[in-house]
């Protein structure tokens, strides 16, 4: 660009944006990246925006969180409150609590940002939960997306703990009670429990350290890991290309939809503003976590109806309904009443996390899957998912047993016993019922393919018989309803080979054959209509 001729050329021909892009390409190679991604095709389905809700609320949480750090003092020094919230003036409280009051009452807009931060966190967790269910029930976790499933799962778990450490920071009476609960749970761990507790709290509970420590975990450690996982999650979504539902023109080898530029730039970019706008409006009208009404934490005080944020509710349920078993032996105490819930808590989460690997082991399927399953077409998977949800929601009921009791005028003893029994029985019933519903829906699909859609028109035949007219489906519909795959159960095969030599069958092989039978056996799927069946019926030989 040293000569005048060059300058005129670049000025005269290339617009500024293009020149900037050229400059960047020479240093970052952005054109190769843009070539692959700028017009990348994304399929359209309402359920695909659930993940977007999570992403955007995560961004909102980071934006508002950075703002809050400007005013929040992560300190447990006791101070006397002199701020503008009259009912608490003159009270002793930690600096953390006092600065949260300042954010709420003295910083203009501080309350709004605090509420957006908290609402966005609740929506982030709810979004991840529902998004995970979408991925689970449509089988989107299958190869090649298992690692992305794990990334997402880790985000959910880390999100839960980031949320917990976050709502504990204001050091109010409610969150302090939650911390006490956590400390009690840690104490129950055999051998090392007291040590972990003393190291975490810098001595005895509550000490002077946990707010500062939770602060660095909440704003640095966990969100740092999560940011990395989110980026990895998104890179993999781009790399794998999005899944799609079966339909005309949609195969396992293509992706049908609209390009990133401009349609999804506008739709997804716009959706960020929609999510942010809704959360801002909700924060304007619905108070969340009014710490001024709860008061500062004191370990000898508590209010009734103490509840964690919703995503921690199932762990609360575990601890509430577990019988208080304690075993004393040789001068030691095994606190099963608290330790067993502490063990089940990660097990509940892990059971859904490892599911994709179990399913791929049962099917032995090593192919890539980009066409989503309709939940009915994978009855065992769907039934397992619903059983898991049943456990989760039964425990949520247990976590709020006092609120259920007061709001519905029920006996708290009865609710507790209901949860204890339903924890074991509920998932079994849910499994059976879901599987039957799925099979029923499969039968209906088959019926529709073979006999057409019920038109609601009743026709009387010349000899007096009444029949309902069925309208045949279009080719698009016929294709969509028969596009799903059906596995055959894996059999162990003959245990004796052709030479009469006995073949060894290992226990895992037997287990897999059993599981495979329960997944794909006759009772677990309805064979989809074959071309022969279809021709037999439509050729006119069949009855209407």
């Amino acid at each position: 660009m040293s000569t005048a001729a060059n300058e005129t050329r670049s000025r005269g021909k290339a617009p500024a944006g293009e020149r900037v892009a050229d400059w960047a390409d020479g240093r970052l190679g952005i054109y190769s990246l843009a070539k692959a991604n700028m017009r990348k095709i994304f399929p359209d389905h309402w359920s695909f925006m659930l993940g977007e809700v999570c992403l955007y609320s995560f961004v909102i949480i980071i934006l508002t969180g950075v703002y809050l750090t400007l005013f929040f003092h992560p300190s447990m020094n006791e101070v006397t409150y002199h701020g503008s919230y009259v009912p608490l003036q003159g009270q002793l409280m930690s600096e953390a609590y006092a600065s949260t009051l300042d954010i709420s009452f003295d910083v203009r807009g501080g309350l709004l940002i605090r509420q957006i931060h908290h609402w966005a966190a609740l929506i982030f967790l709810a979004g991840m939960f529902v998004h995970m269910m979408r991925v689970f029930f449509t089988g989107a976790f299958r190869k090649p997306r298992e690692i992305n499933w794990l990334f997402g799962f880790l985000l959910l778990v880390l999100g839960m703990f980031t949320g917990f450490t976050g709502y504990s920071l204001p050091d109010d009476l409610l969150s302090g009670t939650g911390i006490r609960f956590m400390e009690g749970a840690i104490l129950s761990v055999p051998i090392v429990g007291t040590y972990i507790s003393f190291f975490l709290f810098g001595g005895e509970f509550p000490g002077h350290d946990f707010v500062a420590r939770f602060y660095s975990i909440h704003i640095l450690l966990l969100p740092g890991i999560m940011l990395g996982l989110v980026v990895g999650h998104l890179i993999l979504v781009f790399y794998h290309k999005h899944t799609q539902f079966a339909g005309p023109g949609k195969t396992n080898k293509n992706v049908v939809g609209m390009p990133l530029l401009p349609v999804y730039m506008a739709k997804a970019g716009g959706f960020f503003f929609l999510v942010f706008g809704v959360i801002a409006a909700v924060s304007a009208i619905a108070t969340i976590n009014p710490i001024w009404a709860i008061g500062p934490y004191r370990p000898d005080q508590v209010s009734t109806g103490a509840q964690p944020d919703w995503y921690m509710g199932f762990s609360e349920g575990l601890i509430r309904v577990m019988p208080g078993w304690e075993i004393d032996f040789w001068g030691h105490t095994l606190v099963l009443g608290v330790f067993v819930p502490l063990l089940i808590f990660p097990l509940v989460l892990a059971s859904i996390a490892v599911y994709p690997f179990i399913e791929s082991w049962v099917t032995g399927d090593k192919r890539e899957h980009h066409i989503l399953d309709r939940p009915r077409n994978a009855p065992t998977r769907t039934a397992f998912g619903v059983a898991w949800l049943t456990v989760y929601f039964v425990l949520l009921i247990g976590g709020g047993n006092d609120l259920w009791a007061t709001h519905f005028h029920l006996s708290i003893n009865a609710i507790t016993w209901f949860v204890r029994i339903a924890f074991f029985v509920g998932p079994v019933l849910a499994f059976i019922a879901t599987k039957r519903i799925c099979l029923g829906l499969q039968r209906r699909d088959k019926e529709k393919v073979l006999h057409g859609r019920e038109s609601g028109i009743i026709k009387r035949l010349p000899h007096g018989e009444f029949i309902e007219v069925h309208e045949p489906l279009s080719q698009e519909q016929l294709h969509t309803l028969t596009a799903h795959e059906q596995y055959k159960p894996a059999e162990i095969g003959p245990t004796v080979d052709e030479n009469g030599v006995e073949r060894k069958v290992t226990g895992t092989q037997k287990l897999r054959a059993k599981l495979s039978e329960s997944y794909y056996g006759e009772d677990s799927q309805i064979a989809k209509p074959t071309v022969e069946e279809y021709k037999e019926i439509t050729s006119g030989h069949g009855h209407h």
Partner: protein, 353 residues
């Protein structure tokens, strides 16, 4: 756990085989064939310029609304005092500033989103296109090349041949994180017997938590629930929180005949009994007392203790009874402790025994 033993025929046919990767019309043999992408249907905006103009105006209106809302946000920030409260049905009395800022910000953001989405839905091309997918697995040549490269690299590093280097390196790498672990040691002191002791000791007066006055037996009425702390523990003390977390006491008066537990009766004074207020489940302060039944209830997890029967657990997840503090009356007629709790207060732990 290999899947080698699952025969190929158990896997469903290739998804595209019966349905044809290429679109085809249905015929005798293939009634379920994939008909291919349906033809694009035009929207009203694609054929009617008037409608397209209307969409354009709608989008512009939404973007303009956003601008106005942002101006409203700034105006509210400047004009509305931070402590002004306003009545808005059905929300009740709420902070005027919070409401105004939130609503204007909400509208400013939402209108941008609504405008962008409306733009995309009505004016941008809505023709569906198909992109090819490519297998993620590398082709066999690439795979072979990478394996060969790796073997070459490993060979050139001589790590396989010089075992001494390899083993000492693994040793060093295993040990070096230990420094980091050791550094965590000073996160806190060792538990020792700290969880076994509270501030209570022989002769310490029971001080009413609310009035800060030492309690006399006459201050405790039958059926009432009084919270107490040990004499000398003040709210401003450096370790107040930690000490009260263990020493918090609840005092009730029962009719001596109503006390079923023999030791409880011995450790009481004229029917006045003192129990740890800290729940033995996970440490919530117990704060609900039902005077007719003498039951104390922890509001956190609903553990219920019978204070007339050694505070044994009668419902809920707590594992053992509340520790009782032995009390008496000193020469001046004040209630005093006759020692510390005989067992650790609060949640159970491994060393509790």
């Amino acid at each position: 756990m290999s899947s080698q033993d699952i025969p190929e025929e158990n896997l469903p046919a290739e998804q595209d085989a019966p349905h044809g990767a290429a679109a085809r019309p249905a015929d005798e043999q293939h009634p379920f064939a994939d008909p291919g992408l349906p033809p694009h249907e035009h929207r009203v905006q694609d054929i009617d310029e008037q409608a397209a103009k209307r969409s354009e105006r709608t989008v512009a209106l939404l973007f303009t609304l956003s601008m106005l809302a942002t101006i409203g946000f700034i105006a509210s920030f400047v004009a509305i005092p931070v402590d002004k409260s306003v009545y808005i049905w059905p929300l009740g009395h709420i902070s005027a500033l919070n409401f105004a800022l939130g609503m204007t910000l909400g509208v400013a953001l939402f209108a941008i989103g609504a405008g962008a989405v409306h733009w995309a839905r009505t004016l941008m091309s809505d023709e569906e296109v198909a992109d090819e997918r490519h297998p993620i697995e590398a082709p066999p040549e690439t795979r072979a090349k990478v394996h060969a490269d790796f073997k070459q690299g490993a060979k050139e590093s001589v790590i396989g041949r010089r075992k001494l280097i390899r083993n000492t390196m693994f040793g060093a790498l295993t040990l070096v994180p230990l420094s980091g672990v050791v550094l965590l040691r000073d996160l806190g002191p060792l538990p020792g017997t700290k969880l076994r002791h509270t501030l209570w000791s022989k002769g310490k007066l029971l001080v009413n938590m609310n009035t800060d006055e030492p309690l006399r037996p006459s201050d405790v009425a039958v059926g009432s629930l009084t919270f107490a702390k040990p004499e000398g523990l003040e709210e401003h003390d450096e370790e107040f929180m930690t000490e009260i977390a263990k020493a918090a006491l609840m005092i009730i008066r029962l009719e001596p005949d109503a006390i079923k537990d023999k030791r409880e009766l011995e450790w009481s004074h004229e029917g006045i009994v003192a129990y740890s207020k800290i729940c033995t489940h996970v440490g919530c302060p117990i704060s609900l007392y039902e005077q007719q039944t003498h039951h104390a209830l922890c509001p956190c997890h609903q553990s219920t203790f019978d204070l007339a029967d050694g505070a044994r657990v009668i419902f809920g997840p707590a594992g053992h009874a509340l520790p009782q503090l032995r009390i008496g009356v000193n020469d001046e007629g004040y209630l005093e402790a006759l020692g510390d709790f005989e067992e650790p207060v609060g949640p159970a732990f491994w060393e509790r025994g």
